[in-house]
Symmetry: D2
Subunit: 350 residues, 4 copies
């Protein structure tokens, strides 16, 4: 019947199911497991395409200057970022399938694939860039530009130069309507000087500063970058989020109990989950490579394990949000907000 949709055609199964051409077949040394190798990478790439579809739509919404915090579109943003998390969880799980291939099974065709390698997934690199990973933070950055085709390098470069999700997050936090630096923040910081609140906020902090462990010193540095009054902040220049955006983010985390802050909090939280799942994916991937090829050089010529380890450590895109958790204050010590602010945040005394 004309106009009717057929499952097979709709899903383009002629293409999808006829896109597997093992090298080992071409070389007439058929290796059973190469089909798995192809199919799993194709499944990954399909899901990467879907992740781009979601992230693109989120970027488009966040780029609207009119987006504020009681817009219905903020729900859509959170919903789609949470979908990304769900997809990433399945991608992590999917590594179990790859691990059913033993090292000897992989050896049967591994050398035939050179120099192709998982490092050449330009869609994945584009995704990292779109979220906000800067070229200079990327591990092995010269390497990937030399391995990819120029048109794919160009795609990644474009994503690096366009407004990234991280940058849009920064702008959105800076313009957030519920957070008035003068009104909110002034009273918050003066209250927080009490010694029992948090060591960093305290006015006595300079007394014990020298005895801090190294990790806490770094923390204090980060704290000062954000929370010292403008003009007094050291300019370290490593932050992706401005002091004012960071303060708004901390405010959201501290006062998330207010109805108007629930969605903003969920937004921040979903970004941390995305980082965490990406990190788990890289880590399990690294362990899988470790088991598969020991410490030999990967199919693409690099030491896959070392790459993945470095990337797992360095590629946290929203780390500054996570780091803010170091400065939280117990709920029962939180200063009350002024009544007009409370009202704006949707609290109706029950």
């Amino acid at each position: 019947m004309p106009g009717e949709v057929n499952y097979h055609d709709y899903l383009q199964l002629e293409k999808i199911l006829n896109a597997q051409f093992p090298e080992s077949d071409k070389q007439q040394l058929p290796a059973h497991d190469e089909m798995l190798f192809i199919v799993i990478h194709q499944a990954y790439e399909l899901w990467f395409k879907q992740l781009h579809h979601e992230v693109d739509s989120v970027v488009k919404i966040l780029a609207k200057p009119s987006l504020n915090d009681n817009s219905p579109e903020l729900q859509t943003v959170v919903h789609r970022l949470n979908r990304c998390v769900t997809i990433l969880r399945v991608l992590v799980h999917q590594i179990d399938i790859m691990e059913t291939m033993t090292p000897m099974d992989f050896l049967d065709f591994r050398d035939m694939l050179r120099p192709a390698s998982g490092f050449q997934s330009w869609q994945f690199k584009e995704l990292e860039a779109k979220l906000g990973l800067k070229f200079e933070y990327r591990h092995g950055k010269e390497y990937y530009t030399s391995q990819l085709r120029s048109e794919h390098v160009a795609i990644i470069k474009k994503a690096e130069n366009d407004k990234t999700l991280l940058q849009l997050l920064n702008s959105w936090l800076e313009r957030t309507p519920f957070f008035d630096e003068k009104e909110n923040w002034g009273s918050f910081t003066s209250h927080s000087k009490r010694e029992d609140i948090h060591p960093f906020w305290s006015e006595y902090r300079y007394q014990y500063e020298n005895s801090l462990a190294e990790v806490e010193k770094n923390n204090l540095q980060f704290f000062d970058d954000i929370f010292l009054p403008d003009g007094q902040q050291p300019v370290t220049g490593n932050q992706s989020l401005s002091p004012s955006a960071s303060r708004a983010a901390l405010f959201i985390m501290l006062y998330r109990g207010y109805p108007m802050l629930e969605l903003p909090f969920q937004l921040l939280n979903s970004l941390l989950e995305i980082d965490e799942q990406l990190s788990s994916w890289r880590y399990r991937h690294m362990n899988m490579v470790h088991r598969m090829i020991g410490t030999r050089i990967g199919t693409g010529g690099s030491s896959g394990k070392d790459y993945l380890k470095a990337a797992a450590d360095k590629h946290y895109i929203f780390r500054e949000i996570a780091q803010l958790n170091s400065f939280l204050i117990e709920r029962r010590k939180l200063p009350a907000l002024p009544a007009p602010v409370e009202k704006r945040l949707g609290f109706v005394a029950g």
Copy 2:
């Protein structure tokens, strides 16, 4: 460089990533979530292709008359069936992604897909057939033949008519070299008449037979079909496994402690796991449809939920293996095997 393999080409990403054409775009009512709907179904179909690749190779090995139980190829069979289980687990998990689509989001494009529907996955039906699902046990069988294209119906019919995994399992069990009915089975059954072993094997079972619960009566019927001496068995004709194959399977389960029976046991176990994962997949799928469209008629015109429920109940392919678990005997009551049998089974007194 000529001859070098490139990731993008090797994986045929031009095809794979350009195979998504939402109907809602064509009708100029773009629905964001239709992309997810397409991608997830394509991912399923890719994995179905992989499952066929594994099952085909297993069928080919099991069809060799020379395959016996200390052949290295039996390992390959078990390994690949376990891989199928791992894949199916991911496919079950993948339903989480579909569930991020809310009913309202689905409605945005649902009617545009008619009459396409997940029921038209001929690859899945072919897989069920290849494993051993008979046409007459299939729920909604007339329905699927009317919905699929004739070339796809033909593919499924062929799988039904070829030797299925279940049939090959039957032949392999019947010819298994370690199980000599006379030598093993005779001593086993005479020992098992002791009243404290198992009610069904006991020579006194007729005393209490009439007081059995309905479920146990069915069990007893099944027991008699298999374990009464040849000639005394009622001919119910519902079994896929012959009495002799069933006896060999029970023997494997009972005496799996012997080295030579480890792989055969793993083989039986992996088939039960495949059934269980297929069943979980249908069940979660059914629940997902239930949440997605309530009890309305599915995109393909049928009541999706009812179909899936019936299929989840009826499509157990290896149920007879599972049912044998009803007749197991405690290890400490197992009759010892004659020394020559023990030796054949690989036991070296330690």
Copy 3:
């Protein structure tokens, strides 16, 4: 140091780690796997306790007559119900561990446990009751009262007689402040009579009613119970939710794009997920029992598989919410809400 908290004491590990006494040890026929059997059931019971902790707190909040839809406490409700879903997912996964016990391993100690059985988990039955499962819908209800100790039966009875989560949901939906039946619902239903909206709402539905499939007839019955004007509704009396509560729920589902309806929607959705996970748990449990003991009678004397199958089918607690999905309308066909309603729902034209 006095006053310091010690991990071992804090967690009461002396108790927790000395609470495993295998029967097979007492009978001097030690069975290695009985420890697993004990530990996994103890882990389940610990998590059931946690689920009670969450559900109790949710019930307490929902019981407040002041709770409405922009209260911060509604967030807490949704957050904790989602935690229940996360816990239930792990409980489903945990069945994988039980499945590492083979039927023969279980037989080593199974008969020593009679008549104890998983059916005697009063905490689980109490949980079902607290959520809203009525005694009369419970499969095998006489059975469980005869098997449990009187003090545990009393606990379950109390939960059945107290306000259940389902009843509190009903009250909350009935009093929801944003939904004014006259204002909202009247315009909605008159708009929905257009033939192209949805067959049930249409004024022409009587023309084709007789040709409905059985499943759609049931649906129509359910529809009439809820959506016919008061007084015209047939009194079937099977519903747990009143017509007015059901209408409010459908309204939430239809217009969830409005900020004020986001949390209410998430609440409904989390309840469906709880049902779904409980259902998956029962189903996988059933399959596990099927593989473990075939179709023999369970340790507690009942046919475990049949019980679990019936329960998996009948124990959907929030099924009426799921069924509402049958009556959804495409977003682009939704009637616009009057401006004052829109304002109340938090929409600010962007």
Copy 4:
């Protein structure tokens, strides 16, 4: 009825369900989420007890000098190690539940727990020690001895001093009956000198040695430690496995297609999976801590994140087995084994 087993008593639920005493209740500042914190740690400790039960039984079997490779007990070892993997997977998944506790929720009671901390799980440290983690490889080793009670330190010390699973693995590999160094290994190494087999085995390797990447140089060092003829090996002394045990392990990996090597291969593989799951657990735990408390000092006074990161990197217990994968040879280039060896390995020409 006397002698009957009751579910509630059997599982000691009076103890298990009355072992939760939140500090925040004692201090009359009740924090809802502390119950979750207690219950999840108790669930972890229950499972740690179960892991000990499995590992103890495996150690006991491996310690039998009579254990060889066609013993039925080897199956038991593999089966139970695989069960450990299944348990560990659930423990990793369980972190999802902990992550439903937000940083602010944790702050409500976090300071009340000082100095208790997850670092004080002596059962987990004992488990690592029992598997083979040496005290000197342990990150933060002085720290843990100072934090734990002396009786718990003693338990861990005992596990370090007893024969560990790693040591027993070494002995078992050394005495493996199918691997005769002279007969097997001599012909293997002489064959492998062909240049196209593997660079390290090649007799020409010295030509290109200086151009090796750093990672490959380390590999070569490790290679020489194992595969140079006895007497020529540099004595680096870092290995836990003797050269002869390592050679047997590599032999198993290379020739796993032979029936007699299937179980030994599965044994090695399950150990790698245990390492990988332990590693995933530490890594996800670390990420969770990172999100929960930023980079502040953990409840036990240490920087939790740094500890976990270091442990995730350094605590691979069976890393030498994984590293052997660097020296595998493609199946089609493997030298054929002499006929008598083939026969011993169970191959019957098909």
